[in-house]
Symmetry: C2
């Protein structure tokens, strides 16, 4: 018997979660919720997803000849789980509805931590999430940071983290956001919300983050300095990070991939769907270890990085697998993550 | 009697040095060297600068009706000092000519350190530069870093510096450079040349820099963590940085200037020539001091930041002023730097 999943929101994250969920035999998508009858609705129908919408928007879809299977409440009546991928802040409003129909829910990082029982990253706190009913998968930057911090913490103990996050200004499809010729302090005050968000997962951590937004759409870039509780060799750091396919290494000296643009071109050439890369892309050239100080520069694909963690979250909530690493490895295999060194 | 200055190169830096030099009664510009008869030649003539060129290019200027006063060798025969502002690497070639005519020279940061007797930043090593004949003024990013490091080192002692430099991808006038939609590791290997360049001025410093280039033209942005030899208060750090008008503070919370774009708009509104800001622009919002750890985020205007230091370099070479702070203060007054808090 499979878990019946409804997905509320079919934007950047929602459509990717739907595609990922479809690959797992334990899950069945019973429908997605869309509010507007735009091109993505046709794509959803072509992929075989039933479309649900808000009662007041049903006619909008019918006018365009798009078949609607019912309202969001119809969907919630049937669902074993709803994955909320609505724009940041909307999840809090929808939660009332999820509670009304007593449906467990996964929220995304755009929601405040208090919306869920736990903020989630598989490598950091899979076990604590087992059996939880309301879970928040943290945002792209927080996921990218949490993965490497928890991998190194598990092996060596982490003392302190100092990171600079160079954010993409907008997603590829967003044509009304900026900046278009500026470096924006996002925000000027310290720390950026990322440090606080990482602390929802690793509360004891001494972490400070600075974020700036720049005119590019492809990916974020993190410059992360992690201070360990012991001196280690570079090889051991690489080994610790290689424990999961969610970390992929790139050698710019060998491949000439020294930018997010070339990285995306590589993913396109690989034939990856939508050129997504849910792996942290860590440059080997800049991976520097000086006694207890580790420098990591990584690209984080804002559109797809949280997808594996959304799958892991379902597994934990329904206790489909009690062993963290088994859960993570199976997710990565089904989603065809690569890992290793390019 | 004033010092007769020739300026070789009339691009981004050269034209600004010419304008700055013109403001000092101790100096007289006897000519600038241009290789191409483009729009900047007309501007130079309008400003009253004599144009010199390469022997083989004299006809190019005459064909366009641009009056040329002679060749670069004619200029060097008359000059007491040449300021080389040719593109990076060209200074090394021209140095033979400067030696031939026994003319002291100032080179820019695009040249290798070995070209000069000393790499120069006024706040760091003015006294050591007194009487030198060949001096290299370090590049924009290195100047921006050296100023704050030496100010804090003078007051508290600096132990270690870790900086991330978010570079503008191109200057405003450069229309064939990129990136246009990418974050480029510049370079992927660690450290970027900036750390090595700072060490030409502060050899004993434990400094590591990471540089990325992004699609913007307005200014660089530095995220700098400076570790002091003692714990200090935030007020004392601000006081130490306020010692010179080359540091200007901005309060984004008060002014809403939270990006390089808004900063440039402010400089335009101030009526600054070419909207230049030769000051390090330090955001107060992000100036965080935790015991011995200082976080500074600053914007560095790549086109104009080295101009005050070029003036200081002349003063030191000709020993016009033996006291560093007197020299720096007079330069800043004549160039109308603002400093203080916006």
């Amino acid at each position: 018997m499979s878990i019946k999943v409804g997905i509320n929101g079919y934007g950047t994250i929602g459509k990717r979660i739907a595609d990922a969920i479809s690959k797992f035999k334990e899950f069945k998508i019973i429908g997605i919720v869309k509010t507007k009858p735009d091109y993505a609705a046709y794509i959803a129908l072509n992929k075989g997803y039933n479309i649900y919408t808000l009662p007041r928007n049903t006619d909008l879809f019918r006018e365009k000849g798009i078949e609607v299977s019912g309202t969001i409440e119809d969907l919630l009546r049937e669902a074993d789980l709803v994955i909320d991928a609505t724009p940041g802040g909307y999840g809090a409003k929808y939660k009332e509805l999820y509670l009304k129909y007593n449906v467990p829910a996964i929220f995304q990082g755009g929601e405040k931590p208090g919306i869920a029982e736990i903020s989630f990253n598989a490598i950091c706190n899979y076990e604590e999430t087992i059996g939880k009913k309301y879970v928040r998968v943290v945002s792209c930057n927080t996921t990218g940071l949490s993965r490497i911090i928890c991998l190194l913490n598990e092996e060596f103990g982490v003392r302190k983290v100092r990171a600079t996050i160079v954010r993409r200004g907008a997603d590829p499809k967003e044509d009304k956001r900026g900046p278009i010729n500026s470096i924006k302090l996002d925000p000027p005050s310290i720390p950026s919300h990322h440090a606080l968000d990482v602390k929802t997962i690793i509360p004891w951590l001494d972490i400070e983050t600075v974020a700036v937004a720049v005119p590019t759409t492809l990916a974020h870039l993190h410059v992360v300095r992690i201070y360990l509780k012991q001196s280690v060799s570079r090889d051991r750091v690489i080994e610790a990070l290689s424990k999961t396919k969610r970390i992929m290494f790139i050698d710019a000296n060998k491949t000439n991939i020294n930018s997010t643009a070339k990285l995306v071109e590589y993913m396109r050439d690989l034939g990856r769907y939508r050129y997504d890369f849910p792996e942290n892309i860590v440059w080997l050239d800049s991976l520097k270890v000086s006694s207890d100080e580790v420098l990591i520069i990584q690209a984080i694909h804002q559109e797809s990085i949280v997808i594996p963690e959304n799958i892991d979250a379902v597994k934990a909530m329904f206790n489909l697998e009690s062993d963290k690493w088994k859960a993570v490895k199976e997710t990565d295999e089904v989603l065809e993550l690569i890992g290793g060194v390019l």
